[in-house]
């Protein structure tokens, strides 16, 4: 084991960058699962789908970030349609909707996986951009540009969603639907339309996160299985529905993984992250920032 304060500092810094990446890929789920209570286990598959769409646009010369931004409206519509279908076939029908909805979203995830295999094959796909494979130097220390980008995008998404949810009428309605659907209905708003809109936003945000995913590393159709645990861990650790909490939980996960990996061994990293989740849930079942 190698230990020095310089390494500890670097591990913390890289943990922050990695944590921001985890937050960026989880924030869409925080809206869908945390606020809307939709068991969206297909979230990582949608993330990978967005990464492939970024790859596709990249093959026509698009910059990955630009591609991610351009995909947001398309994914918004996809999210709206997906929620509507889920609502009509499952949620509307009553109490067992949750369990059956889980099966529905697993089905969606499998369809996306198989669709990607048929369309792109099973090869790893990567994108190229000027900021991939390069770094910024701070004295002796070099920080990968792609990780700095993840940091920036995570902060921007968190800030944008927090502001949207607290400052706009629709945003407040989304928060209200999470707390008391019946009360919202009495106020004259249509909870289904609000949820549909919110799910669209969650999916649009995932489009940009998907672009981030393929910037960070190569993707293959079944990569969603690697992220399913991590994204749900971040959202639950945060406390369902908290955007700043999602960022904080991502940071906790990233920093703990990075420090454990550097000083105690990489094999311990996932165990410590999920151990942390268990401890937090034991002390605060509503999550770190949940009410």
């Amino acid at each position: 084991m190698i230990f020095s304060f310089q390494l500890l500092f670097e591990a913390t810094l890289f943990g922050i960058l990695l944590g921001c990446f985890y937050a960026a890929v989880s924030i869409g789920l925080s809206v869908a699962f945390g606020l809307l209570d939709v068991p969206h286990v297909a979230h990582p598959a949608v993330l990978v789908l967005a990464a492939y769409c970024t790859y596709l646009l990249g093959s026509y010369g698009w910059d990955p970030i630009l591609a991610g931004l351009a995909l947001m409206p398309v994914f918004f519509l996809f999210g709206v349609a997906l929620y509507r279908f889920y609502y009509e076939t499952f949620e509307k029908r009553g109490t067992e909707a949750g369990v059956r909805g889980l099966a529905f979203f697993f089905g969606i995830a499998f369809i996306i996986e198989v669709g990607l295999i048929l369309a792109f094959g099973v090869d790893q796909r990567l994108v190229e951009a000027d900021y991939i494979g390069k770094s910024l130097s701070f004295g002796e220390m070099r920080v990968p540009l792609r990780m700095l980008l993840a940091f920036g995008i995570a902060l921007a998404l968190t800030a944008a969603l927090t502001l949207y949810l607290s400052k706009t009428f629709t945003g407040r309605a989304i928060k209200a639907v999470a707390q008391d659907e019946a009360a919202l209905r009495l106020m004259g708003a249509d909870p289904v339309r609000i949820k549909q809109w919110a799910f669209g936003i969650a999916t649009a945000v995932t489009a940009l996160a998907g672009a981030m995913l393929i910037i960070i590393g190569p993707v293959e159709p079944m990569l969603d299985r690697v992220y399913i645990g991590r994204t749900f861990c971040v959202v639950v650790l945060a406390g369902l529905g908290s955007m700043t909490g999602t960022l904080a939980a991502g940071l906790i996960l990233g920093i703990s993984e990075s420090i454990v990996l550097m000083h105690f061994g990489a094999s311990w990293a996932p165990a410590v992250a999920f151990g942390l989740l268990l401890v937090v849930l034991g002390i605060r079942p509503q999550g770190l920032f949940g009410r």
């Binding site: 094959g121 099973v122 079944m222 990489a266 990293a269």
Partner: protein, 416 residues
Amino acid sequence: MKSFARRWFLVAGALAIAFGVSPPVAQAQQPIKIGHSMALTGGLGAAGKAALLGLQMWVEDVNAKGGLLGRKVELITYDDQSSPATTPGIYTKLLDVDKVDLLVAPYATVPTGAIMPLVKQRGLLLMGNFSFQVNAKVQHDMWFNNAPWHDASSWSDSYFAIAQRFKLKTVAFLVADQEFAQNLGRGAKEIAARLGLKTVYEQNYPPTTVDFSSMIRAIRAAQPDIVYVMSYPNDSVAIVRSVNEIGVGSSVKLIGGGMVGLQNATVMESLGSMLNGWVNYHSYAPEKTMEFPGVKAFLARYAKKAVEAKVDPLGFYLPPFNYATGQMIEQAVTATKSLDHKVLAKYIRENEMKTIVGDIRYGKEGEWATPRVLMVQFRGVVDKNVEQFRLPGKQVIVGPAKYMTGEALPFDKARK
């Protein structure tokens, strides 16, 4: 009379069908069925699909020549999803339902390991497909692995021979936490210990690791002369990128070794110039010492088919070896005029097999008697150009000595 004869003929025909007696002409037309599973999805899917194309090309060729023993060859393929959980069921189905005549093993170690007890129990010939030491414990005498290695030392010997030529003293190990990688890593560590190299850093990482920056920084802090990496495709890409971004330190003269994925055209094209200087294992490189009869023509044909099949456009790693597996079956069946597994196994055990990946003779435990794991060093690679890898000089063979096309350069020099 005529009507009586016709009626008698019909009755006889019906009885023959009822009792499973088929006329000799029909039997002659029944194809020889070769069954196998292949990783067409899952972690090994990218390589598996390319491998399947190689085997299918052999089937096409052998059928164009009239088949084997006057019968067409039919390949029965199932997707094993890269999982050992599926292969015992698939091979049981191949044997009991599809009634295949011959078997080829799945691609890679873990899916193959799961069917070894079955084939041993039933006394079947099994042609292996890039497995690693699956027969070490089972000791099945009808197993023939088509892969250019036999044990862990045969894999890493050439890598550490370069370290000796450079007179290097210290080593860092970065090894994926999975069975195959761990086995290879253990072998590499044994060689390093035997050579008196001092291990200054050792890290096993879980397969879900997203970013390797922290590990690369720790390696840099440890200042090793050699870095031995045993990684899987996504990790290999992340490690190469991290080294390019963060730097691994000027002490490192040799880096690479056992990185899966750096043989894949898509990965090679995307990483481009970041690959320069890395030394990694390979089964084939388009260099002068690898010009075995037929391999160039095979790769030229493969390249055209690969575009349509959406598989690795270069196809250096597995496809020629899968074609060669077919050639070995063809040679054994033609020479013995038999489909009897024991007869075929005896022939393969005792004879030199002529293939497009060179002449192969089998040694103990059904592995290549003379292993040939190539160590190639990427040099002069430019960005965004997959075609460059078809030319000699981009993946210079730096070991083993018999196949070398150039001396290895220290990592920092090869990157300039």
